[in-house]
Symmetry: C2
Subunit: 415 residues, 2 copies
Amino acid sequence: MLAEIITIGDEILIGQIVDTNSAFIAKELNKIGVSVFQITSVQDDNAHIVKALGEARERVDVVIVTGGLGPTKDDVTKNAFCDFFQDTLVQNVEVLAHIEHLFANYISTPISDINRQQAWVPSKAEVLHNANGTAPGMWMQSNGVAFISLPGVPFEMKNLIKHQVIPMIAERYERPYILHRTLVTYGLGESAIAERIASWEEDLPPFLKLAYLPNLGKVRLRLTAKGADKKMLDEAIEQASEKLYPLIGDILYGTENEETLEEVVARLFTQKQRTLATAESFTGGKIAQQLTSIPGASAYFKGSVVSYATEAKIELLGVSREVIQKHSVVSAEVAKMMAENARNLLKTHFAVATTGNAGPTKGDSDAEIGTTYIGIATPEGAFAEKFNMGNHRERIVQKAVHKALELLQKEIIKI
Amino acid sequence: MLAEIITIGDEILIGQIVDTNSAFIAKELNKIGVSVFQITSVQDDNAHIVKALGEARERVDVVIVTGGLGPTKDDVTKNAFCDFFQDTLVQNVEVLAHIEHLFANYISTPISDINRQQAWVPSKAEVLHNANGTAPGMWMQSNGVAFISLPGVPFEMKNLIKHQVIPMIAERYERPYILHRTLVTYGLGESAIAERIASWEEDLPPFLKLAYLPNLGKVRLRLTAKGADKKMLDEAIEQASEKLYPLIGDILYGTENEETLEEVVARLFTQKQRTLATAESFTGGKIAQQLTSIPGASAYFKGSVVSYATEAKIELLGVSREVIQKHSVVSAEVAKMMAENARNLLKTHFAVATTGNAGPTKGDSDAEIGTTYIGIATPEGAFAEKFNMGNHRERIVQKAVHKALELLQKEIIKI
């Protein structure tokens, strides 16, 4: 059971936007046992789209197409579908009623003929209701291959995928199971790990695949099993993991599930009914932003003091000027005091603080670029740890945010 | 002059990562007049890669391949290149010396045979030095088409693109010019705009292309001109724009260049030597994070008070409890007071504040989900404006951050 995702839009091909739709769709398909064989991005061009549809038909069972369904002339997907399926557009009265309803209730511009034209769909298409927008989704068939066309606007597409496309595919196709297990290691490069586990890797059965995913100082080992017998796959992954653990026990950090690190932190703080504050220097609010990106953050997250300037650390956060002068603004002492003071100011159980230098210049301290201190304050006391995060600004901040959440997780899990 | 980007990696096809490399590469190619015809993502699979290379050879002049160059068994790009080019791997002594240098100086794990194998490259390949990593880039030719293989790690790939690939393509190929101009409109849907400018659009010369890009309540109109004569293209874009302005004068918001809104704000505050603080409620630090993502933010950005909880607004930011009780925590009065108090606490010229409800529940106020107040404090005084940002959590926050930066821009530009 293979799928191809075709994303349509010049804005992707000139690099004006990053295609985030494909990863979302791929993940959802994977959950129901559909493997994405290829992702193809093509221009808003009739001939190019028709060609891509034809090539995909040779490769896969289901083709999911996003984009090019807007009301304006640069959107040509529906015409390309008509050419490919030798079909013509007909007006769908239900879609028309939905468009008129949206315009009457939610859109300030008056409805026009161009908007009403969005109710025209290929006559052979099965229409998928787009609750969040005016462009309907469409399901068509050719030589036993399903072609599903969706709008490119992420929140319209996501709703259609979750509530229409996935249930329909699940109902209409027999699918294998695809199971993943990801083990997170820390402290050894991918090549060193590969040498260590070479004979274990050799012995893996053919339906088990291993991938090495290095990122932010960690190497994740992803085992993927694919087949019809879920119980057998579960057991095979379990057995392979059991044999792997003794080989990587010293570097094994944990297993990874669908949860992101910030989701784990959110879940633990909420479950354990503890509250959190952050005091951020060079991470500039990114820890707070990641935590508050998860619905329900108000249950445990009280706020943050983003003290970017040294003066803000002193005046807003009450870090002592003497401590800064004695130890430098990028120091364990300052990180610890930032965490303690944020915890007191915001009256929380826990606080995490960052101070460091992300470059490109050295700023208010003599610390090398990449030097990072993370302070943690808990009901039991406070401490700070030092890290070196390399010399690439964006990565330094990313790594520091990741490490701060990791240290928080380690503390909250003890409660 | 056409290019294809092929990204290799199972992690893309199972949706574990979003492919951000392609947008970066497409943008850089565009700047030197190379159009990306297609982007294709394929699995870490020899046969699939070879097939994709062959198909791309029929479509374009330059193929840029990323990923699959790691030292472990799941990385098969080099072998696929050997199959495709009927070549064999040979050891490159310069790459070997570079790998040994990196291990001796920057990598804590001892070097192993697997690492040294990364110095083996196809014998016909021209090697591109990867300053940031152990996997070299490669340039190969087949039937007059260039195939360039790069590592998938973004910061290694970006460095290779900027300092090697782009200069080499620029030197080796004659290229047309590709010019873009994007006009930003506000207040009218894309279909209404399309109707209004229909006859203007009809009259565009064939080398000028128009695209409608709706996002966050705005519609951007992108004009793209492509051809050999830069002066003529410049003039054609200018003339078309001049004819367009009178048709959309009432909704025209500005022209867009490569600068993002946060970059514009950063530039204006730095140029005008004014300082800024933020007080963020439901935006949770995202404004601060976006501003500090730009190097040099310390020149004007002092810090932020992220007062997510109502208590934090009172205790940390000094918003009056009476005002909150009288007007609700989501109100113009609170937004204004948050901005004023942040400005005073952080001793800055300007401050921007947000309070609102991003859902999914109503939280500490009765405000409808999507209700947003943005407060601005300047040396001249303070004010707040009300907005409704829809009902989709992620988009509400995005729109609020965007609007906050927009209001700031409007104020700082007056100085």
